[in-house]
């Protein structure tokens, strides 16, 4: 359907205006100007911030510049989550632009994965795609691909080439019509209320009785707290790509259209703003 193709584009080209500020404790030779970027929601922080690094390296001494990392209001930002997930989870109620603090010292080993180069991001990205395909097709599609096909997925993301990426990614989105969907839906549900980073389990797009599973069914099965009972005030928002999809939306459709390039449906559960 033509309309649905537009959804893929809208998801791919989602942007978050962001202001990068140097951490005040960094020793600088002169004052560091903030740096502004439109961050792609579906990309990774360390993949799109080479310019930020270059910008701040100009004002700090080389020997003071260790591995760059990012923080928002005291929370170290995990580069291995898609940017849109980080924003929805930690900053969805912030005033734009999103203000991220940049650090070059005291890398928080206990919280963040090191990211010494883009090849580490590539490894993480491909690992996620493989894991998703293990769930969707028992790894058959991704294993049938050639190395250059894997490269095409990665280059598509890295260079922000929608058509290049989707020419290959559509293969990962296929399934036998008679099955009515993937074997399992690759999803992750994030919340900030506990230390547990996310919920990820096996969940089928269709019930054993043949009923189509919806987003609401998934939430009810995995994280019922996120749903409010009838008559009660809503406490949580279920957010994907910055929007709240209807809970009646079929999960299979969401998986095909609102998944990130890593082929996972990333769902954020966030408290309803109090004001």
């Amino acid at each position: 359907m033509a309309d649905d193709k537009d959804v893929l584009r809208d998801v791919w080209f989602g942007r978050i205006p962001t202001c990068f500020l140097l951490n005040q404790d960094e020793v600088t030779e002169r004052e560091a100007e903030p740096y502004y970027l439109l961050l792609p929601r579906v990309s990774y922080l360390t993949l799109v911030t080479d310019k930020v690094k270059k910008h701040f390296h100009k004002v700090i001494r080389t020997e003071d510049a260790e591995e760059m990392w990012f923080e928002y209001e005291g929370t170290p930002l995990k580069w291995h989550y898609p940017i849109g997930v980080l924003f929805d989870l930690h900053a969805s109620n912030t005033v734009l632009p999103w203000s991220i603090t940049v650090h070059f010292k005291n890398f928080p080993d206990r919280d963040l994965l090191h990211c010494p180069s883009h090849s580490v991001i590539e490894a993480h990205f491909m690992s996620s795609i493989k894991e998703a395909d293990a769930l969707k097709h028992k790894s058959q599609v991704v294993n049938d691909m050639q190395k250059k096909d894997h490269k095409q997925l990665w280059m598509g993301l890295q260079n922000d080439k929608f058509d290049q990426f989707w020419a290959m990614n559509r293969k990962l989105m296929e399934y036998p019509t008679e099955d009515g969907g993937f074997r399992f839906i690759p999803f992750r549900i994030y919340q900030t209320m506990s230390d547990r980073p996310f919920i990820q389990k096996q969940y089928r797009p269709v019930s054993p009785e043949g009923n189509v599973h919806t987003l609401g069914d998934l939430m009810k099965a995995m994280y019922p707290v996120a749903l409010s009972n009838e008559g009660e005030p809503k406490r949580f928002q279920v957010v994907i790509h910055g929007i709240e999809p209807l809970l009646e939306t079929p999960l299979q459709w969401l998986s095909e259209h609102l998944s990130h390039p890593d082929n996972f449906l990333h769902i954020c559960v966030i408290p309803v703003p109090s004001d």
């Binding site: 995990k78 291995h80 080993d109 206990r110 919280d111 963040l112 994965l113 090191h114 010494p116 180069s117 090849s119 580490v120 590539e122 490894a123 993480h124 491909m126 690992s127 493989k130 894991e131 998703a132 293990a134 769930l135 790894s139 190395k147 894997h150 690759p186 230390d195 547990r196 980073p197 996310f198 990820q200 389990k201 096996q202």
Partner: protein, 257 residues
């Protein structure tokens, strides 16, 4: 269901059995996570004396996950000089009267250059995506400094390093622990089913029961300094086999595929 698939329920049965044996052997495994809850992991800590040879800088960045599932023979060159390292660890020499901490068994590398004592923490989790167990670990010095991926690679015995790079057993990467949200090293599970298949197939052919987790651990553990004493197996399979006495098998070898 395929013979080689380990669902969450069977994972727990295997873990329970492993815990019982570990208790008998004083091997130090414990279960972490909610009681009665399916969500949790096996945990063990150990002290190991390891030589970190920082001069042998190994290009681990080449080992990203795509290649991690394929061979990397070009990386094998330059590893020969390491082969002189003496693998003195007698992996099967666990003593019956062992206390829970046993440093001798952990001495994996003795060579020129100073060895340092490292604290290892091993976790075994279930991967619902791959339906396999997964080994996570982290390691730090006595001062509490975490080891980098590069240092971890150089602490892996050269023979295993070759195997990790050239076999389907895969590579070590830094990943987020799915229950703790903290960085851990992980042996990637995407080929686990493949290398476990012959083990399980052989067991089935010989009508033996297999503890999937234990067999798998005996393959992957030693690569990162985690030795599985042979006694686990002799406890499971006494010299005179009387299947009735053996604890319930986790993977019924006779079951059809």
């Amino acid at each position: 269901m395929s013979l080689c698939v380990l669902d969450e329920e069977n994972f727990h049965l295997c873990c329970q059995l492993l815990l019982q044996l570990s208790e008998q052997l004083g091997d130090g495994w414990s279960w972490e996570g909610g009681q009665g809850s399916q969500e949790g992991y096996l945990r063990k800590t150990a002290l190991r004396s390891v030589v970190i040879d920082s001069s042998s800088v190994w290009d681990y960045e080449g080992g990203w996950s795509d290649t991690s599932c394929q061979s990397q023979s070009e990386q094998q060159e330059g590893e020969q000089e390491q082969a002189a390292v003496d693998a003195s660890a007698d992996t099967n020499s666990i003593k019956g009267d062992l206390e829970e901490q046993d440093e001798d068994d952990g001495v994996c590398v003795v060579s020129a250059g100073s060895s340092q004592l490292l604290q290892y923490e091993y976790h075994i989790l279930h991967s619902c995506s791959y339906s396999t167990p997964v080994l996570y670990f982290r390691t730090c010095t006595q001062e509490g400094r975490s080891l980098s991926l590069e240092e971890v690679w150089s602490s892996v015995h050269p023979n295993y390093r070759l195997r990790l790079q050239s076999s389907p057993l895969n590579t070590i990467t830094l990943q987020e622990h799915p229950l703790l949200g903290q960085p851990f090293f992980m042996l990637h599970p995407c080929r686990t089913e493949e290398f476990m298949r012959p083990v399980l197939q052989a067991a089935q052919d010989q009508h033996r029961s297999v503890n999937y987790v234990l067999s798998w651990l005996s393959v992957v553990g030693p690569m990162v300094g985690l030795d599985v004493p042979l006694k686990y197996s002799t406890l499971l399979h006494p010299a005179a086999p009387s299947p009735a006495e053996i604890l319930p098998p986790c993977t019924e070898a006779a079951s059809s595929t």
